[in-house]
Amino acid sequence: MNRKILFKLIDHTILILVSILITIPLYWVLKTSLTGENLFNYPPSLIPQDPHIFYFVDVYYWIPFVRFFFNSVFVSVIVVTANLFFNSMAAYALRYSFPGKKLIILFYLSMMMIPFQTTIIPAFLLTRYMGLLNSYLGLAFPLSSTIINIFVFKTAFDAIPGSLFDAAVIDGMKEHSILFRIYLPLAKPAIATNMILTFVWSWNNFIWPLIIISDKEMQTLPLGLSTFLSYFENTSGQLYAFVIMVIAPIILVFFMNQRRFISGIVSGAVKG
């Protein structure tokens, strides 16, 4: 019995150490964004002294923060909406058996083997020919359908009994209304997974905006953050306030939807 308690103690110790290792950097940046400590002065203190919000105020006035925030939100909204429609439509079509279906599935799966980073040069050139440089559409287009989420929808649709489909057909429902009125309402977890995953990807996207955005007004938050770093170096409290302003929405969304987020990653990775 004593051995068991000892083992439990060891387990907890390891986990607590890891938790500290993971939370300390985040706590540290939050603290500095409120106090400006540890930029110049030594030794650091663990508890924030005289917190104030002036660094956040400065970020708001020094850069067009609202514009950047709007850009990020707007692109994310396009991406999330497009993904919901395109992925669910593709998954719905894959319900049927038709000649060439295997080929299409193989096509989708092989797309996972082409990371976006290996396509950036022609993708940039194509976007330039389409006249979409410095535009919201150009930012959102490459992300507007994602393989993992097609398969998330497919799994959810496969679980819906075929009798429901047959009944709807007998009732004379049109195909698109079967998808939008029956299938999607029954696949709510898949919708949530889709929304969360694509939101996170779109919000964090950096290399693509870096390549196609040259207009200062069109920058998204991560791009704005990296530009901010190049102007103010790493000893301004404002930089860390900006960091907090960029990651706060993501952390909020993650904690509110943690379970869906995780199940999304799992189903995407294991089954796709």
């Binding site: 104030h52 919000i53 002036f54 105020v57 400065d58 708001y60 006035y61 020094w62 909020l252 904690f255 509110m256 939807n257």
Partner: protein, 134 residues
């Protein structure tokens, strides 16, 4: 698609979510209300001498600090009660300073506001010392 329904589901699935949402909404509304109530762009304060008596007709200078420069001063004068008022100020960080003949030059005091156009009365009066004549 149905945002309210989604938020309701979030609250139901985890009570901690409702606390976070509530905090978020109240702090945001609170902030907006606070800004709306205090956005007249007035900066006001008092100038006194060492004994605490108000100094009339003192020049008060406000210089806005921006990212990389300090702008030329905006000037006003105190009235009979030693009170000064700046109107239509759209600044967040500034240096303030009072001067009058027969007094030593006052020190720059730095203030940082929460938003541009915030109503602000200086928490401490500006103090001017009389020049000592031997």
């Amino acid at each position: 698609m149905k945002p309210f329904r989604y938020i309701w589901d979030l609250i139901r699935s985890n009570p901690a979510n409702s606390i976070v949402l509530l905090l978020l909404i109240t702090s945001l509304t609170g902030w907006i209300v606070y800004v709306e109530l205090n956005t007249d762009g007035i900066i006001t304060g008092k100038v006194v001498d060492e004994t605490g008596k108000p100094v009339p007709e003192a020049r008060v200078l406000v210089r806005e600090k921006t990212l990389n420069l300090i702008k030329p001063p905006i000037v006003t004068e105190t009235n009979q009660d030693g009170v000064f008022v700046f109107k239509d100020m759209r600044i967040i960080e500034f240096l303030i300073n009072a001067q009058k003949e027969g007094y030593e030059a006052g020190e720059d005091i730095r203030y940082h506001l929460y938003f541009k156009g915030q109503h602000f009365s200086l928490p401490k009066p500006l103090v001017l010392k009389k020049v000592r004549t031997p």
